[in-house]
Subunit: 194 residues, 2 copies
Amino acid sequence: MPTLILDKRTQLIETALSLFYERGIHAVGINEVLKTSGIAKKTLYSYFSSKEELIAATVEYRSRLFLNWLQSQIAEVDPGRASIERIFSSLDDWINERVELLSPFKGCFFINTSAEYNRHDCNIYGQCRTHKQQVCELLLQQCRIIQSEEKAAQSLNTSLSLLVEGAIVRAHVMGDKQAAQQAWTTAQVLIAAP
Amino acid sequence: MPTLILDKRTQLIETALSLFYERGIHAVGINEVLKTSGIAKKTLYSYFSSKEELIAATVEYRSRLFLNWLQSQIAEVDPGRASIERIFSSLDDWINERVELLSPFKGCFFINTSAEYNRHDCNIYGQCRTHKQQVCELLLQQCRIIQSEEKAAQSLNTSLSLLVEGAIVRAHVMGDKQAAQQAWTTAQVLIAAP
DNA sequence: ACACAAGTAGACAGGTTGGTCTATGTGTTG
DNA sequence: CAACACATAGACCAACCTGTCTACTTGTGT
């Protein structure tokens, strides 16, 4: 039964994600993932050839989860300015743990993972980079709508991306739970600027 | 000879910092710090009662190093706008590895460390938070000079802090080496805004 | 010359790691 | 019922972890 096969695999990934996100990847051993999920070691190693592979699958899973969630948020409002506002308000929801899917808030999983895996030839690091680029691309689409000139759109995109990343970091490291709101206040100035 | 005593201690901290910053804290064992520094295990445990204590000392050391460096950069120019510009250009120097003292660039040590130690009752996490607040305070002093109204100064301060943190993250995770320059371009809009 | 402080080298203990492997159970299918 | 794929439990291995401890070396001050 293929659904059952996927279930075990998914259970492992979800358990691993939850533990990795909460405490960091190196701090969590395979045995703890197994004990928490109630799955046998042999089963894990039938789906993943190593811990590294489980990590890669976990990062991939989180990336899809996050992008799908963000996209669904944008889909609820008009493209352009309203979507950008929604991105910041969604960020606020995430930071203040109003999104069950992403709770509890422990900063950005990809920033955190990049801290532990930052060698340029490491593909986990590459996955983190790709994820951030995808989020950035999503934002760029909205910038293009309110800035017809491509150069201006890209410039706005970068500025807004800086604010988004900054908000996540301030919220996590400094405990600034209003970071996303302040980021949006700042963003409005940039959008209004000539 | 007290200077010699300090030397061994400092050597350990500097070696640990270099390894921790490059590869993450959990990924580096005590034995590797010892082998790299050429110092005996017994000596380490005469200065620090545990790895945790060495980590704490390492975070403290990096915090002082970074703050002193940043302060010395600001001291070279006029207070106010020029100092803020200098902060962003120093950030650019750091990211692009023109500051030997801080090389090689591997993102922010405190963001990275927060990813591995994020429990609220963990004092290492507290150290990271304190460091960020100190950097922010340094920036606030400059904001106060160009914004006489306290509320406006704080608002500008937060906005600039978001850009600074965002630049560090974009540079590290996305490999955007121009992040600091773009952050400054954005900052100028905010400083000029009414 | 001798005591002493501070260093080195590294064995060792007890625990954890990632990963392999054997033995056993279970549920579906022919 | 028999065969099969898939699961579990957990022993086991070699490597590594933090931290302790013994034994030896060095340099300095009196």
